[in-house]
């Protein structure tokens, strides 16, 4: 066990966990930030996507020992009042079915649009291809990312 000081959503947290504990489980089990989801645990599905220094990252395979002073943003910290353009677009387009993967989808889309504010539809498809939606909301995800890009 070791002590880690983390910077998450603009706040400081201190946790005492094993070095190899993935960031995902620190967020969920130790900090109560359960918006970041567990689904595959092997960086394949994107449900656990968070931002580390602004980069969309699979938190399920990032050991806490490697996070250091990096700035972590989770779905809970994406915006103050659920008003990030991507969140607004997700509501407007009514993207979700079961909703389990959507926090990861939103985090991926938000990081992508920051880098590429005016993407083509093909670029959207490429960027969002790393997140699985088992319900098959892909058409709506694409529509929402496109909407967020226009309304930024």
């Amino acid at each position: 066990m070791a002590n880690y000081n983390l910077r998450i959503n603009g706040k400081n947290y201190e946790v005492d966990v094993e070095d190899d504990t993935p960031l995902l489980w620190v967020l969920r089990d130790h900090l109560g930030l359960v918006g970041t989801k567990y689904s595959c645990g092997i960086a394949q599905c994107g449900a656990c996507t968070v931002h580390i220094n602004g980069e969309a990252t699979f938190s399920c395979t990032i050991p806490i020992s490697s996070v250091g002073s990096d700035k972590v943003t989770t779905i809970e910290g994406l915006s103050e009042n659920a008003d990030h353009p991507v969140q607004k677009a997700w509501k407007e387009v009514d993207v979700a079915q079961c909703g389990y993967c959507q926090a990861g989808q939103i985090m991926n889309a938000a990081a992508f649009l920051k880098k590429n504010p005016k993407p083509s539809l093909e670029e959207i498809d490429n960027a969002m291809n790393r997140n699985i939606c088992r319900c098959g909301t892909y058409h709506k995800i694409r529509e929402a990312v496109a909407l967020a890009a226009k309304t930024k």
Binding site: G35, N81, K91, A96, G99, L121, H139
Partner: protein, 720 residues
């Protein structure tokens, strides 16, 4: 009640009593409420509310709380049920809030998500619930205003007396209304007067889902709760020995318990359990059939020739028809076992407190979870409460309560509240799959190309009845024989979205395409001719609505410009399941000599469309689901275990692999007839038939990707 209220540090659950003493549990996000928002909390609303019936409460402030009894797994029932109540109530939707109701056999009926049955089952009672409340409010208003009730009208939570210009809010008369006797009969609206039903009302959980609030079972935590993971045996094996020394040494692991054929690892958080599970050494020995896919293939092929098939339906004289046939066509189709693989793995919370049990989590059938818990513990079911969280997908997997019982078993053994979490690997290898099935179809054609005989024999591995003997084309063929053979495998199976028909429809619609081509008939015309036959001279019972099926066939053909563009190679498919009708056309264009799947056109008759957004989700989602599994889904067994254990080897369809999907509804005027499943079955057939039209290659097994006919096709999928 009190002891549940102060459950945990983050206020996951609060309980509120209604004025009439009804008890409801709601997700209450006090820690998340923005201080700037002056919105009454759900608890505040409920504390002032009058509980008119099982479905809704109305407060003196006019706030309406509608309870959604059925588990929500993405089928949008938590939004569409309340829409139906609000419609008949004439509520102001902006003042409606929706709560997931807990399991309550007294208040609710069929609290189950399965069989696309919730809306067809509850449609009328939901409407009555809203209409009854409206009637009581109107009665109270008429008394107060001293006018005839018939002179009053309602709109968006207001009652108007047009003659005098007087108006009252629902909140103003709710106290008086709650004193009145409910009428036995109420008038329901004419569907043409609907103002909420048929409009794209947004998902009621959007804000919570898109900000990461704890909605799902896996998000449930409670102070003092322990975590557990379960090591399960391969199929057909039992535990020989367990060496848990290394597992126990992992920091955060508090206990390792062996019971029956399972080993539970218990600890204070999830990650140590995942580590410990890898260190756990369990030796297994055979306990029956330790099967492989190699065995399964052999068994299914052999059993297709068995003399012991069970006759499920027999019309006319099949032997005679085949003897006299000008042409006989026979083909075999096969599908593998498939896991449900919902994004949220199986999990459940249980707290066994002596003779009482608290259950919280994602289940499609809370009643079964309770019954099985009662049986396991030998206690009355009344001692068990079940709260239903949102489900991160289900697809039928959560109709089974095995993972609920995991939590119950561990909780009673460690005498503490326990959340059991299955890892993705546990979820994928833990069984209850879509059964593997092999079919043999035969058709007899006369010299004019009429199908005078039809035979279907299905062999399923724990599939029960794999043939659905009364589905189309039964009723449309004068001589018909449908037989079933079930093999008891050690691999466990369960309902999987559109049970049986998720594969049978593909096989049947592909085979009918083969027959139509042999008969030298257009595939659409061929089906319409059969349906005409079922209508004008039916053979035996016809268990589908011929006109509704014709309706979607014609609509899909028309909107897809069926057969009118020689550059587009098309595949047709139509299926009736779960009371609804869906026809689909897949369009493949040859671009630079390469087939490109560009579009699927779907035409659906599900009766009245309650929520167009939700309906589009179900149709598109069903098609994406059907397409993904037809193309990629495979579970290969070796020594009683699937080789695919996670999403690296078990391929799920992704963003770039979905074509454009065009969705339309045929307005037949029927009450809603189910939509969670019916769009999935036709998809595999439409795609396979389009691939045949484009390339001349017939795909008779799934997944397509692993068939030699498909491997060098380089089928591209492109939107737009």
């Amino acid at each position: 009640m009190a002891d549940i209220t102060k459950t945990n540090r983050r206020d996951f659950l609060k309980i509120a009593a209604t004025a009439t003493g009804g008890l409801f549990i709601g997700f209450y996000w006090s820690s998340c409420d923005s201080p700037k928002m002056k919105v009454l909390s759900t608890e505040e609303v409920l504390s002032k509310a009058h509980n008119f019936n099982s479905f809704l409460s109305i407060s003196p402030d006019g706030d309406v709380v509608i309870y959604s009894p059925n588990p929500e797994l993405g089928q949008n029932i938590k939004t569409s049920f309340p829409m139906v109540v609000a419609e008949e109530l004439d509520a102001d939707w902006s003042k409606v809030r929706v709560l997931q109701a807990p399991l309550d056999n007294d208040k609710f009926d069929r609290q189950l998500t399965g069989g696309s049955g919730a809306m067809p089952h509850s449609w009328e009672r939901l409407r009555k619930a809203g209409a009854t409340a409206r009637h009581l409010l109107l009665t109270a208003a008429a008394n107060q205003l001293e006018v005839d009730m018939a002179s009053l009208s309602t709109e968006k939570g207001m009652i108007y007396h047009k003659a005098s210009g007087k108006k009252l809010t629902y909140g103003e008369v709710v106290m008086a209304a709650s004193e009145l006797e409910a009428p036995e009969e109420v008038l329901l609206k004419d569907p043409k007067d609907f103002t909420i039903i048929g409009t794209p009302i947004k998902n009621v959980d959007n804000d919570d889902m898109f900000t990461g609030k704890p909605l799902f079972g896996l998000d449930f935590y409670r102070e003092g709760m322990l975590h557990a993971m379960i090591q399960r045996p391969p199929f057909g094996m039992k535990i020989k020995s367990v060496d848990d020394a290394s597992a126990r040494s992992v920091s955060g692991v508090t206990d390792v318990i062996q019971y029956d054929n399972f080993v539970a690892i218990v600890g204070t958080s999830t990650w140590p359990l995942m580590k410990a599970k890898r260190r756990l050494k369990v030796e297994y020995e055979s306990d029956g059939n330790v099967e492989s896919t190699f065995d399964h293939d052999k068994i299914m092929k052999e059993l297709l020739d068995s003399k012991d098939a069970r006759v499920m339906r027999q019309d006319g004289n099949v032997d005679e028809a085949f003897k006299n046939a000008a042409k006989v066509i026979t083909s075999e189709y096969q599908c593998p076992f498939l896991p449900h693989a919902p994004m949220e793995p199986m999990n459940f919370f249980a707290h066994v407190k002596g003779e009482e049990v608290e259950l919280i989590g994602p289940t499609q059938t809370p009643d079964a979870a309770r019954m099985q818990t009662a049986q396991l513990l030998g206690i009355p079911k009344e001692n068990i409460t079940v709260d239903i969280t949102r489900l991160g997908g289900g697809f039928g997997r959560r109709l089974r309560a095995d993972y609920v019982l995991d939590a119950v078993e561990v909780s009673r053994r460690v005498n503490a509240p326990v959340k059991v979490t299955w890892s993705r690997e546990d979820d994928m290898t833990g069984g209850a799959y879509r059964p593997a099935v092999r079919y043999r179809f035969s058709a007899a054609l006369d010299a004019a190309g009429n199908m005078i005989g039809f035979k279907l024999r299905g062999v399923g591995l724990n599939a029960g009845n794999s043939v659905r003997q009364d589905n189309f084309p039964s009723g449309a063929v004068p001589n018909l024989l449908i037989e079933n053979i079930n093999y008891n495998s050690s691999v466990t199976t369960n309902a999987w979205r559109a049970p049986i028909t998720n594969f049978l429809a593909y096989a049947e619609q592909s085979f009918l395409d083969e027959v139509a081509l042999e008969a030298q008939k257009d595939p659409v015309k061929f089906r319409l001719d059969l349906l005409e036959q079922a209508k004008s001279s039916p053979t035996g019972s016809v268990n589908y609505d011929v006109d509704r099926m014709i309706g979607v066939i014609k609509d899909a053909a028309e909107r897809s410009n069926w057969g009118k563009n020689s550059n587009v190679k098309q595949g047709f498919s139509v299926y009736f399941s779960h009371r609804s009708y869906v026809a689909q056309v897949a369009n493949i264009e040859m671009i630079n000599n390469q087939p490109v799947l560009k579009k699927i056109v779907a035409s659906t008759d599900c009766g009245i469309v309650v929520n167009p957004t939700g309906a589009n989700h179900q149709v598109r989602g069903g098609i994406v689901d059907g397409m993904g599994h037809a193309m990629f889904g495979n579970l290969v067994f070796e020594n009683g275990l699937p080789k695919q254990k996670n999403f690296d080897s078990y391929r799920l369809i992704r963003m770039k692999e979905v074509p454009e999907i065009d969705v339309n509804y045929v307005d037949s005027g029927f009450d809603p007839t189910g939509l969670g499943e019916p769009a999935l079955p036709p998809t595999g057939g439409a795609i396979a038939n389009a691939i045949f039209a484009a390339t001349g290659r017939r795909l008779r097994s799934q997944p397509f990707l692993e068939q030699k006919e498909f491997s060098d096709l380089n089928l591209e999928i492109r939107r737009g």
